[in-house]
Symmetry: C2
Subunit: 347 residues, 2 copies
């Protein structure tokens, strides 16, 4: 059984500075506890990990010694000896102001109670940095890697495949995944938005957002569907990653009547631009001179006016599912969590 911090820790300590046994500054070790309790160190190890194997009186004696010394198990040593680190590497493009925060939250809510730690790394949408972060993560020998998207380089893929641990790619459904997948079909999301806007009678459509692989898949679905319905090729505006850039995007798309933003932040920024251009109404979608659809379903979107229509994508469920996929081998390794087009007042 995995080490369960919840069961064993924290032990209340008897004093701020434990009575010294060995050198003043060294943290007490298993064998210091063992000596004090008059048992062998393996017995202490069992009290920490497998308390049921130890007789109640022995256990009490050991626990008392741990308390008195302020013993904190050294999982670094434990991991080396057992070849289990009870940690999971998590790689996201970014965590701030971002839809991925929900996924990290879902992840750690699932992993932490089971005694797994999350080692977090950010690629900042930079392929070289992603490779470095993957290598750094792997050298800590995590039990699994969960990442947003797929590795950007061949090298990253090799690194992951050679690690021979569960790898979960998320927020996408790659055709040839390394191992497991928890995501949704970004292409279909683009199609769904296009279908909706075309059905609404919109004619001059545009896509705004980043040019990362997921945004590009959304764009592809969006464009293909629009072309298939006989309309002119939509425009695509590639923006910086902060929403503020999208405020001025409208000036560069003078006559559009519908915009699909790669995420809610961009959508809200774009709406701010529309507002100052006098092109935003508090009324329903049909009253909007320019329809706006986002992606992510931020809570904010429901609170602003007009309320934001968006593709809702269950970021926390992606995280929880990814965590489950790392813990349970076997079973379905490709989970499509889908998405929903949530129609509100913006488009």
């Amino acid at each position: 059984m995995a080490w369960q911090p919840g069961i064993v820790h924290p032990l209340p300590m008897s004093s701020d500075l434990p009575p010294e046994i060995g050198p003043a500054d060294a943290a007490p070790t298993l064998s210091a506890v063992a000596k004090r309790a008059g048992v062998s160190s393996i017995t202490v190890s069992r009290v920490v990990r497998l308390p049921d194997l130890v007789a109640p009186e022995t256990r009490a004696r050991v626990e008392r010694a741990m308390r008195e010394l302020g013993y904190v198990p050294n999982l670094v040593a434990g991991a080396l000896a057992s070849a289990r680190t009870n940690s999971v590497g998590v790689l996201v493009p970014t965590i701030a102001n971002s839809i991925f925060a929900d996924t990290v939250q879902g992840l750690s809510d699932t992993l932490e109670p089971r005694g797994f730690s999350v080692i977090l790394a950010q690629s900042r949408y930079d392929a070289a940095r992603e490779d470095r972060m993957l290598a750094a993560l792997l050298s800590r020998r995590p039990e699994a890697i969960i990442m947003v998207g797929s590795p950007a380089t061949e090298e990253g893929g090799r690194l992951l495949r050679n690690a021979r641990i569960p790898i979960v790619e998320t927020w996408e459904l790659p055709p040839a995944p390394i191992d497991a997948v928890a995501g949704f079909d970004n292409y279909k999301a683009g199609v769904a938005v296009a279908k909706h806007l075309v059905a609404q009678g919109r004619k001059r459509l545009a896509f705004i957002g980043g040019d990362d692989p997921r945004a590009t898949r959304r764009w592809s679905g969006f464009r293909d569907e629009i072309l298939a319905s006989g309309l002119a090729e939509p425009r695509r505006l590639i923006l910086e990653r902060n929403a503020t850039g999208s405020v001025v995007a409208h000036a560069r798309l003078p006559d559009v009547d519908a915009v699909f933003a790669a995420n809610d932040a961009h959508a809200i920024g774009f709406m701010a631009g529309l507002r100052s251009a006098g092109l935003l109404r508090d009324g329903p979608a049909s009253a909007q001179p320019v329809a706006v659809i986002g992606l992510g379903d931020l809570e904010m979107g429901r609170l602003i006016s007009p309320t934001l229509s968006t593709i809702s994508v269950h970021g926390d469920a992606i995280g929880r599912t990814a965590a489950t996929l790392t813990l349970e081998r076997g079973g379905e390794r490709r989970v499509d969590l889908g998405f929903e087009l949530v129609l509100r007042d913006s488009g």
Copy 2:
């Protein structure tokens, strides 16, 4: 010198499945590389960590062997041997939809380039869980702990003090910190908001938000200043942590004319409630029947209408400063990053 993943990794590998030397599934070790390169393992270790100490030709031979075997250093073993994990434990209440995400971002942007990994844990505003997470973090022997706020229990404080590593408390300025601090004065933030609203002529004020220590400090400053200026005791409404709860908050504060929300999400939620009650104007603060001030300065606040007045708190600077405080001993251990009252249209 600390191990620098950026310098050494990743090594391009020559094939997907390295030619086997030992047992099929075991990851190659230092000594496997050493054998293949015809050197001792310490030389390989030096190529990884201190390449300048190795002659160029030897280094090339070792690097070739590493590439051929797909060697990934085992930092778990390295950490045990060197007593340096090159990791930092980070404890936040929550990461999703949250102002703390900026701090985590700032943190890891500073730590990752220096070869430190971030071990992330969430307390979910739960004292028992916080203690468990602290114990779990400490058992991984991080080089330092960075946390939002101060430990909620005596036990947590003991754990941290006994760890004898740098501890950085953030988002607050505790009077008796464990070690270092990077934050701002939440009490003064409350005072600043109260002063502003009173000067604006508001009479019936309220505070909405959580009841965590930082929100409570803001409330204290807010209330004290309002009482000091001779107005009636403000009301305090304790809300769930999601913004949606604050939408209906207005019904419970029927005749307020100014509200300070403990964070921007609550502020925006409250404004949504005002909007449906017909109490929100697109005009300037003076036109608002009910003034609303948030805290956090989310990008969103600038994009919505009316734009949100708020206390801006430099979450990323807090993170960067905290990271610096863990890396550099000595110097000032208490950094007040301050805050700014940013006045826009909401109040």
